[in-house]
């Protein structure tokens, strides 16, 4: 199971829960599993977050694999020219 940690304001959408153990094998699966647990977080995941898998940050990478023992952080999207971030 991958250990998944929400960073920043995202925990307000999960009732304060910041850490999860999930069986996701890709970012897409991870988003689905989180959305099943906490539907309110779904639009924010779709709108744009960054995902750090074992220390490496990915953006817009739904197909990126997640290992069984991976440590995953879901972060606000990293700005690059953009100043908009959600939530």
């Amino acid at each position: 199971m991958a250990r998944v940690v929400l960073v920043g304001n995202l925990t307000q959408l999960t009732g304060g829960v910041a850490e999860f153990d999930l069986s996701a094998t890709s970012v897409r699966q991870l988003f689905r599993q989180l959305a099943d647990l906490h539907p309110e977080i779904a639009p924010h995941l779709e709108e744009g977050v960054a995902v750090a898998i074992d220390g490496q940050i990915y953006q817009d990478a739904l197909l990126e694999p997640i290992g069984a023992d991976s440590e995953v952080f879901i972060l606000p999207q990293i700005a690059g020219g953009s100043l908009e971030d959600v939530p």
């Binding site: 920043g8 709108e47 952080f73 990293i78 020219g81 939530p87």
Partner: protein
């Protein structure tokens, strides 16, 4: 590492001649305002004289009746949009705000806010027409200062803006758009472990990106609804996406060409004139050209935030940082979206600290909406932290470089914002600075030396490039990200090395939006990082194709053939087969299957953070408060410098912009909410005579996720200067300046208060 071209890394890492150099020094290069079309009209914008006013009515009839006026547009020419975040490229945009920023709707929210625009046969007529537009305003109370804007009772800019990120959810609108927070560990427990705690409040002024070339666009809309645009921008695909959305056009019907750009620094990642020019052209059925004046650039295009930052840090007596807390209040301008989130995440990123809590607020006020500016948000928060780090070093009697070294983030460090870092180069930059002759040179009275470090994430993103082998074996390279800091030279070097051909046989250009697949903009220090990855991919396709064709020509198996040394040849030399160069193959391309080329289409991941350390010497004139930068050295981790001269240029440019931010630049508003220094005479940016030669040390700690080890370098260099200069000021004067800019009046006042007139008491 360098593919299997002939020469390994013959060009990567060298100072090749820049492909755009000759045209730029001869004046042949075409910037935004250099484009013209037959029959074009000139567009001008009517801007609000009020910082905050309800727009009761707009009567354009007199302007429309003026001979020579071909079109007038107002809010009625733009569809309203709901408040929702929509992807635009990689960016998330709230088009409700975007459409209101390009053309005021219910209210004018800052002085200079566009209220109407005119296209006429000459600039004189267009300006005359603006005076004939009758706008009835209901002037409202305004608020400029970020702290005042947060107070209960402050004039509210948006009745539907409720603070996000607080519990319970507010039932009243406010100017605080958002509260964000990151934390790890137990901040209270951390401070209990501290032997030394330093707490300070800092204030920074909003500063403009200060690009020399003002915003400029030429747009033409055909009768069939297709459009073409020439524009000074950091991202022509983003311009296309925004304009299509704002004007209800198909993306595929808009073709955008990126002109040569006279600076952007983040400020040309959004649209201002572009949708107006298209709307005017659509209405007038003629091409429309629009160019901002410098005053318009200052009043109507985004600076970066001014801010109020509180920092509290704790360290043990042996110099270990144990707790870092901060509160950031960032101005967003008239619409939400300040860079407070990255400011929060970057504040303590250079260091390994167990207990961290940083809270940020995104605050609207009656100023122009902020735009990105190199490492958006990071210079502000890191300036405050680096100032406090310096103070801790003094309290503990530890050398400031040594203190940073003791706490530096490194591979495996858990970042203050969560994940663990991969390889990082902060310690190497600190070591490099410590070894310089600069660090060990004695100083005189009223001179000071400061050091500070800085962090920026860097990004990758969607990138598409093409390599086409021409009939004579030369190669056309097309990229889709505007070249701001040496992209063409860097990518040409990679292509030449990958294909094993001479550098001058590669001709790099920036393609228009119809020529390549989607490219995210030049920003986030991403274009050379991502572009070079895509070039490697495109070159791989060419080499693979050549090997496949050679296999058929030579009646061999493809795996018996390789591309090496700029030639296609059998892996095992054979007398029956003569190796073919790219030139040889180009001659028979048509007879062996057609044109040869490759297209790299990637969403680049694996951007490695870049960290840097700056060292500055300065001298304070106690009679006038003027500060002179005497000497400056930058050390930064580039991973691998594709083109060292351009990398050094990024280091130097960031340092100079940071010097301006630290010492002189600020937006000065009157009590009437109007900007008083909207010009380079009164908005004091550094010029060449203000700065010494800046020494650049390129540190190379390879980014393992890039084929050459590259890290983005464009943004980090503006992060450390603010702290380094503030620390040098303290060293020179014994005064901790906590408000930027440290301009002569403020310095003189502080010196007088502490030492008497002229610093006589020191």
């Amino acid at each position: 590492m360098a593919g299997n071209g002939t020469n390994g890394q013959q060009y990567v890492g060298t100072r090749t001649i820049r492909p755009d150099g000759a045209d730029k020094v001869t004046g042949r290069a075409r910037f935004g305002a250099d484009y013209n079309l037959a029959g074009q009209l000139i567009g001008k914008v009517l801007r609000s004289p009020h910082p905050h006013a309800r727009i009761v009515s707009i009567d354009t009839s007199k302007a429309e009746a003026l001979p020579g006026v071909k079109a007038v547009i107002t809010r009625d020419d733009f569809a309203d949009m709901p408040s929702e975040f929509i992807p635009a490229g990689e960016m998330m945009m709230n088009y409700k705000d975007v459409t209101r920023n390009v053309m005021a709707r219910e209210k004018a929210l800052y002085e200079g806010h566009a209220v109407a625009a005119v296209a006429a046969t000459s600039a004189v007529i267009a300006k005359k027409a603006l005076k004939l537009i009758d706008v009835t305003y209901d002037v409202l109370p305004h608020v400029i200062d970020v702290v005042e804007a947060m107070q209960p009772g402050a004039p509210i800019l948006h009745d539907d803006l409720f603070t996000v990120g607080v519990e319970p959810k507010p039932d009243r609108p406010s100017n605080v758009a958002k509260r964000v927070e990151i934390s790890q560990g137990d901040i209270d427990a951390g401070f209990k472990r501290a032997d030394v705690i330093v707490e300070r409040e800092f204030k920074t002024a909003p500063v403009h990106q200060g690009y020399i070339e003002p915003h400029a666009v030429l747009a033409t809309v055909s009768e069939d609804g297709s459009a073409e645009v020439w524009v000074s921008t950091q991202g022509h695909y983003i311009v296309r996406a925004h304009c299509a959305r704002l004007l209800g056009m198909d993306i595929g019907k808009i073709r955008v060409n990126a002109a040569e750009i006279g600076g952007g620094f983040g400020g040309k990642t959004v649209v201002y004139l572009e949708p107006l020019a298209l709307a005017l052209s659509r209405k007038a059925k003629r091409p429309v050209k629009m160019v901002m004046s410098r005053e318009e650039v200052f009043k109507a295009s985004g600076p970066t935030s001014g801010a109020v930052v509180k920092v509290k840090m704790g360290a043990t007596k042996d110099g270990k940082f144990v707790a870092g807390w901060a509160e950031l209040k960032y101005q967003a301008g008239a619409f939400q979206g300040s860079p407070v989130q990255p400011g929060v995440m970057c504040a303590y990123a250079p260091y390994e600290i167990e207990h961290v809590k940083v809270v940020g607020y995104d605050v609207v006020s009656n100023r122009p909406k902020v735009a990105a500016y190199r490492a958006p948000g990071a210079p502000i928060s890191e300036y405050a932290v680096e100032s406090v780090v310096d103070e801790i070093a003094k309290k503990l009697g530890i050398d400031p470089i040594q203190l940073r070294m003791m706490n530096a983030a490194h591979e495996g460090t858990k970042a203050a914002y969560g994940p663990k870092f991969g390889p990082l180069g902060l310690e190497e930059t600190l070591n490099s600075i410590k070894k310089t002759e600069h660090w060990n040179t004695p100083l005189r009275k009223w001179q000071g030396r400061g050091v500070a470090s800085g962090f920026w994430f860097n990004i990758g993103g969607e990138t598409c490039v093409s390599l086409t082998v021409n009939e004579d074996g030369t190669v056309s390279l097309m990229a889709g990200t505007p070249d701001i800091g040496g992209l063409r030279a860097s990518l040409a070097a990679v292509a030449a090395d990958e294909l094993g051909i001479p550098y001058d046989k590669v001709r790099p250009i920036i393609g228009d939006t119809g020529s390549l697949g989607f490219n995210f903009l030049t920003g986030g220090s991403r274009s050379a990082f991502s572009g070079s990855m895509a070039i490697v991919e495109a070159a791989k396709q060419i080499k693979s194709e050549l090997c496949a064709r050679a296999a058929k020509l030579w009646e061999m198996k493809p795996d018996e053939i390789e591309y090496a040394g700029g030639h296609v040849k059998p892996k095992v030399a054979s007398e029956k087969v003569t190796p073919m160069s790219l030139v040889d193959f180009a001659k028979v391309a048509g007879k062996t299957g057609g044109p040869i080329g490759g297209v790299g289409r990637i969403n680049a991941q694996g951007a490695g953070p870049s960290l840097g350390t700056h060292l500055v010497d300065l001298e304070v004139d106690p009679e006038t408060g003027r500060v002179t930068i005497l000497r400056y050295t930058v050390a930064q981790d580039a991973g691998k410098a594709l083109h060292p001269a351009y990398v050094e240029g990024q280091f130097q440019g960031g340092a100079v912009q940071g010097i301006g931010w630290a010492l002189n630049e600020e937006y000065i508003y009157g009590a009437d909410g109007k900007l008083q220094n909207a010009g380079f005479l009164d908005y004091r940016m550094p010029v060449a005579s203000d700065v010494p030669k800046i020494d650049a040390i390129v540190v190379e700690v390879a980014n393992p996720r890039h084929p050459y080890g590259v890290r983005g370098v464009g943004e980090t260099p503006i992060v450390p200067p603010l702290g380094a200069i503030a620390n040098a000021m303290e060293n020179a004067t014994g005064i901790r300046f906590t408000e930027l800019p440290m301009s002569p009046p403020k310095v003189l006042k502080a010196l007088k208060e502490k030492y008497g007139a002229g610093g006589a008491g020191r």
